[in-house]
Symmetry: C2
Subunit: 360 residues, 2 copies
């Protein structure tokens, strides 16, 4: 058996208000006044001077606001890389992603593609990246995806929704400031938090699990439960703990994998553009067969927070749509193997998946 030599984020700051340390962190990483820092920021902050005024811009540094209304795409990465290459004579000193999973994944992918030839879709898969990325920093403003610690960046490409999984993907620096998550709308808070919860359920119930991933997954699960089910925390502590749940949840994937919900949710996102967190929730709600205890607690948390999940998403789909959805989902081989073992195709057939999708 071969074990992964897992790349961890080599630097992390945690603390309420630590966002104000960004300047000090970036300063020694600036190569010169012609090599700017590029800040990719969720456009929900565009009219938020409380956040934007604290971005330490000097010389040619640039903010690019990006909508997270749609999931990140390989063509979007390619366009950002072209835009940056055309605007500056020198490679940037660094890329800083500020936002949720979409912004963090874009920042990771742009940092990789600034140093690697071709287009982003050529690197979707496992260990296809050959050159180190530009220095890149992740600053989550919503908790749950685990994108801040993962070695993947999930992108929708021309053929697949699939991550660029590589040792060069993880951030060089992460800044965890729970205060940045204060203004997240309730439904997003729930969907993204549940992304983390579902990670944990899938990881802890998977065949790939070992004690490393288990310890992170169990802690993340407990923290999710504290935040969404027990509800005994004040708001500040709840934000702190959800940020740590996301962190540990991301780490729990190091030697394990996600499972059925993510595999099916990828298909949903690819065809319908459903957001990752919301898609996971919609799928997971139907997975009693695979994760009975996890789904039971999920439904309880959904009730507590009065979350109504979208219904009838697949009602108007054509056979061709279903076929694409099923192809994308069944392409997630490691996820299915983790969930159900090597013989997963004896359980999961195109017909079975179609029947499940039709209920959503």
């Amino acid at each position: 058996m071969k074990f992964k030599n897992f790349p961890m984020v080599p630097r992390v700051v945690f603390g309420r208000g630590s966002f104000d340390q960004l300047n000090e962190i970036l300063l020694p990483k600036r190569r010169n006044d012609k090599a700017p820092f590029i800040f990719l920021i969720d456009d929900v902050f565009e009219n938020n001077p409380e956040i934007i005024s604290r971005i330490p811009l000097i010389f040619d540094d640039q903010i690019i606001f990006i909508s997270s209304d749609t999931e990140p795409k390989t063509v979007q990465v390619d366009a950002l890389v072209s835009r940056i290459n055309e605007a500056f004579d020198e490679k940037p000193s660094g890329i800083i992603g500020i936002g949720g999973g979409t912004l963090l994944d874009l920042a990771k992918a742009v940092a990789i593609m600034l140093n690697n030839k071709g287009t982003a879709d050529q690197y979707q898969g496992w260990d296809l990246v050959k050159k180190d990325a530009v220095y890149h920093v992740g600053i989550p403003t919503i908790s749950g995806t685990g994108a801040e610690v993962s070695r993947t960046t999930v992108l929708t490409g021309p053929v697949m929704k699939l991550g660029i999984n590589s040792d060069y993907t993880p951030f060089d620096q992460v800044l965890l400031d729970p205060e940045l998550t204060a203004g997240v709308p309730k439904h997003q808070w729930f969907y993204t938090g549940m992304d983390c919860y579902i990670h944990c359920i899938e990881s802890l119930n998977g065949t790939y699990l070992n004690a490393f991933s288990q310890s992170y997954g169990e802690k993340s699960y407990e923290l999710c439960k504290e935040v969404f089910y027990d509800q005994s925390l004040d708001e500040e502590m709840s934000r702190d703990k959800l940020m740590m749940a996301s962190w540990h949840g991301g780490m729990s994937i190091a030697y394990s994998q996600v499972g059925v919900a993510h595999a099916m949710s990828y298909g949903l996102s690819y065809v319908l553009g459903t957001h990752h967190g919301e898609g996971n929730c919609i799928v997971f709600d139907h997975l009693e067969e695979f994760y009975p205890d996890g789904v039971k607690l999920f439904k309880a948390m959904k009730d507590i927070h009065e979350i109504e999940l979208a219904k009838g998403l697949c009602a108007a789909l054509t056979d061709a749509d279903f076929d694409t959805m099923i192809r994308v989902s069944m392409g997630m081989v490691p996820l299915w193997e983790n969930a159900l073992g090597k013989d997963w195709q004896q359980v999961i057939t195109p017909e079975k998946l179609r029947g499940m999708y039709e209920k959503m």
Copy 2:
């Protein structure tokens, strides 16, 4: 408030049998055939071909066996650095520490001192190291110290037992193979495991705690309890989980600190040479006043495993010995502040400490 930009170990392998991947890990780090890897190995393995035959020696690579009967010393680090500098024309490609906390701390300190001028005692303290260390790898063979993830290397110097705390201290690579801990004698297994348990109690009950450290500390505490109190695990799983307890316990110190037991144990080690883990146990057994629940569970675990702690250690000490012990212990200001707050000196006086030491 300023938050530490914590340096994490950037690469980790976890898995039973992963020790066999060492060659593959080191290969790309070898600069040339004149720049050897130096393996610092606990001499308990000297006559253990099952381990030694798996060390991937080529060219001028060298094994140096080191006894862990005594705690690591600054003069020992200086001697090792001189020996390596004299034996080779080039700086080593890397230093690999294989053993418990003593070997791991020596490896970290030697890697630092190969690139920094002067003697190791000049760097005891916080952030005194100015140059990056030589590439260094940590491979624990006993679980509990957390030395595999910490940013310190605790050394006994001419004046103090104090760590070289720096951003350059952490390993560049850690390999966690629980099978390497299979032959640890029971009392060492207990003392070193309890070092971790005591870390957690001190961290979780400290004034420095935040949600980052708390989440790691809680998980580590739970794993210690599973291993030493619940005892429902088979041997393999018990080793796996204790290795993870140590890892998380080390991380829990990132934004917190240890406390009363460590502060007093440092004094004990300095004057009497008491081993770190054993010293912590001897001290902690007397700390009901500070950690009532933690000490209660500790005593229960001590009973379960039929551990007899040494008594009367301080019986023959002179006043001068006590003064030294108290000076070293009271010098650990951050530990006392974490345990008891800024006004710790209102509780902890030389007289109070003397009274406590006299009971040990």
